[in-house]
């Protein structure tokens, strides 16, 4: 197992290099804004542009730029400086990470609890009106775009502008006091972000559980005289829930840099927004930094999930 982990970590490094390379290439191949022009302000003269280019190192060959990026990254953990304001990327990124992690993990807890519960209820009461209502509701939640849900949420429940001021609104996270205050501010974002995921997980778990409940070992459990509750929750869920773990890890990993819409609607200073802003400003250094962070996040979560899976399923051994 230890050998396996080391192997995976090495692959993660390779992955990060590859992704950085692709990002680099994409940036220069696709017609994006010229960072020098963006930096230079209104009507820059050619000399100003050339000067800025030199400052940013944009006149050097691509390979050299890439190589110095990698060198800085792996030797000094230095992600370079933003093309926009010349501030080092790393501290800003680190500043933004807590908000994203809080948002994503909080939402994950909500969607796992809600999704799994709904999934179980639906499976156990399969075919009844409850099953239909719950699965229909799930379909609605999946179809509703996150930003729409967020805006509706704010419209209805935001304390400042909503109809029934129940929860803190947009921007509350930044003004919040302490962790509890922040958590309070994140309640609506959590609900909004987790809605679609909860629905997907509910459907997934329902399907897995129905399949599991028709397995032979469930018949054995019933024949042993176990209570139906024990059969479903201990024997059934144990098998049906294990594939959920794999999906969960990847979903969380992707959200590290992908919760852009939620972060925008609710004005949460997270990594997703940071990355999005960098893209619209052609800020390659920041783009690189956030991309690498995201790749690392996904790779590590995926490794974590695989390790957990080995503990859950004794047939799997590395």
């Amino acid at each position: 197992m230890a050998f396996y982990i080391v192997k995976r970590l090495l692959w993660t490094v390779v992955l990060m290099v590859l992704i950085s390379a692709i990002t680099f290439l994409l940036f220069y191949v696709l017609p994006t804004a010229d960072p020098a022009a963006l930096r230079a302000g209104r009507s820059p003269s050619p000399e100003t542009l050339a000067l800025i280019r030199e400052q940013l190192g944009l006149d050097r060959p691509l390979i050299e730029q890439f190589w110095s990026f990698l060198r800085d990254l792996f030797l000094h953990f230095d992600l370079g400086n933003s093309f926009v304001n010349n501030e080092p990327v790393r501290p800003t990124l680190l500043d933004r990470i807590p908000a994203t992690l809080f948002l994503v993990f909080g939402a994950a807890i909500v969607w796992v609890v809600v999704g799994v519960t709904i999934g179980i209820v639906s499976a156990v009461f399969r075919g009844t009106i409850w099953d239909r209502i719950l699965m229909g509701g799930a379909l609605l939640a999946i179809s509703a775009p996150v930003y729409w849900l967020g805006l509706i949420g704010l419209f209805l429940f935001s304390e400042d502008i909503g109809k029934f001021g129940l929860l803190p609104g947009s921007g509350a996270y930044q003004d919040a006091d302490g962790v509890l205050g922040q958590a309070h501010a994140l309640v609506m974002p959590w609900i909004v972000l987790s809605a679609a995921f909860a629905a997907v997980y509910a459907r997934l778990l329902r399907a897995n559980l129905l399949e599991t409940l028709s397995e032979d070992y469930i018949r054995t459990a019933r024949a042993k005289g176990l209570s139906e509750r024990r059969v479903v929750l201990q024997h059934g869920l144990r098998s049906a829930g294990t594939p959920i773990v794999t999906v969960l890890g990847l979903d969380i990993g992707i959200l590290f840099g992908g919760a852009i819409l939620t972060e925008t609607v609710f004005n949460i200073p997270g990594v997703g927004r940071y990355a999005f802003e960098a893209i619209s400003r052609g800020d390659l250094a920041t783009i690189q930094g956030t991309t690498v962070f995201l790749a690392l996040g996904v790779a590590l979560m995926s490794l974590l999930v695989d390790i957990i899976y080995a503990f859950l399923d004794p047939r799997v051994r590395y």
Partner: protein, 340 residues
């Protein structure tokens, strides 16, 4: 001696989209304490469904169950789900066909065994564990104290079936229902498992219902044999009688169409023509009639009842032919005559 299990006119119907499946269509049998009843039938005969119903495992909104099932003096069919649950795995235990999939793959066998006893008895974990080790030893698992912490996939098929048997016997059941326990196993392993069941039965005094399609298996282990076809029992006799003097054309068909180890090379098997009937639209009259070589106009219209071959005899047959006709036909078959 009062029978341990008495099934009377048991009917199990399932409502499906294609119609009502009459899986079990009025069967009656009894099992004495310590005795082995073999139930022989092919797929669709209702042999598994009838046993699952005894355990209450076929109760669902789509099933209609009628008749009586009396176990140790109590009627199981009218018992509540909770009452039945207390009986399952406790007084009546069941083992199934495929040991590879009948154990939960994610839990150690020790946990699964201990669960079986702790569901029904108020014992500590240590006591449950000791009991589990004891049972594993009884069924022949080597080094039980060490292997109790193994996972199912770490055992071979035969070993897994032994674990299943150990699990079934955790609470000293009075009745063990074995549904095709050796069908999925190799022949040498099958012999070991059957020997084990027989040994345990003698030591613990458990009654056994052995469900199988293999006449050879019941020949080895059963005291009495019931032959099922299309949801009915068509013949019921003690082992000796069934093989020496069977009286139902289906039984004859089975005996003549299944090769035996000592079948001569030039012998020709006589297959039973046709296929098992649909359980939704059963033919009128005798269910075996369409495939019966000895069919008469009477069997097409009259539904035969399971009756003794002679007053007071324990040999029961459901056939419209008279006892004399049947006896002489069988004599002819044994003598090598072709069917009429």
């Amino acid at each position: 001696m009062a029978p341990l299990l008495e099934v009377a006119d048991l009917k199990v119907h399932f409502r499906t989209d294609d119609g009502v499946v009459q899986a079990v269509d009025g069967i009656s049998y009894s099992v004495q304490p310590g005795q082995t009843l073999g139930i022989v039938g092919e797929s669709g005969s209702g042999k598994s469904v009838s046993s699952m119903t005894v355990m209450g495992l076929t109760r669902s909104p789509k099933s209609d169950i009628s008749g009586t099932v009396t176990f140790d003096g109590r009627d199981l069919l009218s018992a509540s789900n909770e009452e039945l649950r207390k009986v399952r795995g406790n007084d009546i235990a069941m083992i199934f066909q495929d040991p590879l999939s009948s154990l939960h793959p994610f839990y150690k066998i020790g946990k699964q065994l201990m669960e079986a006893v702790r569901t029904h008895r108020d014992v500590s974990k240590a006591q449950a564990r000791d009991r589990a080790v004891e049972m594993l030893g009884l069924v022949g698992i080597p080094e039980p104290r060490r292997r109790i912490d193994s996972y199912p996939h770490e055992f071979s098929g035969g070993m897994r079936q032994r674990v299943m048997i150990a699990m079934a016997l955790m609470n000293d059941p009075k009745l063990l229902i074995a549904d095709e326990p050796t069908t999925a196993l190799d022949v040498t392993v099958q012999a070991q498992i059957l020997k084990l069941i027989k040994k345990l039965q003698t030591e613990l005094g458990t009654a056994v219902v052995m469900i199988t399609h293999d006449l050879g298996v019941v020949a080895d282990v059963a005291d009495e044999i019931a032959v099922m076809y299309a949801g009915r029992i068509v013949e019921h006799a003690d082992k000796r009688t069934l093989f020496d003097a069977p009286r139902h054309p289906y039984t004859w068909g089975l005996l003549r169409s299944i090769p035996r180890l000592d079948t001569a090379r030039d012998h020709v098997l006589v297959p039973i023509p046709g296929r098992p009937p649909s359980l939704i639209t059963k033919p009128s009259g005798c269910a075996f009639n369409p495939r019966c070589v000895y069919a008469t106009p009477e069997s097409r219209t009259t539904d035969p009842v399971l009756l003794p071959t002679a007053p007071g005899s324990g040999h029961l047959v459901a056939c419209t032919l008279s006892e004399e006709q049947r006896a002489s036909t069988w004599k002819g078959i044994v003598g090598g005559e072709d069917p009429a």
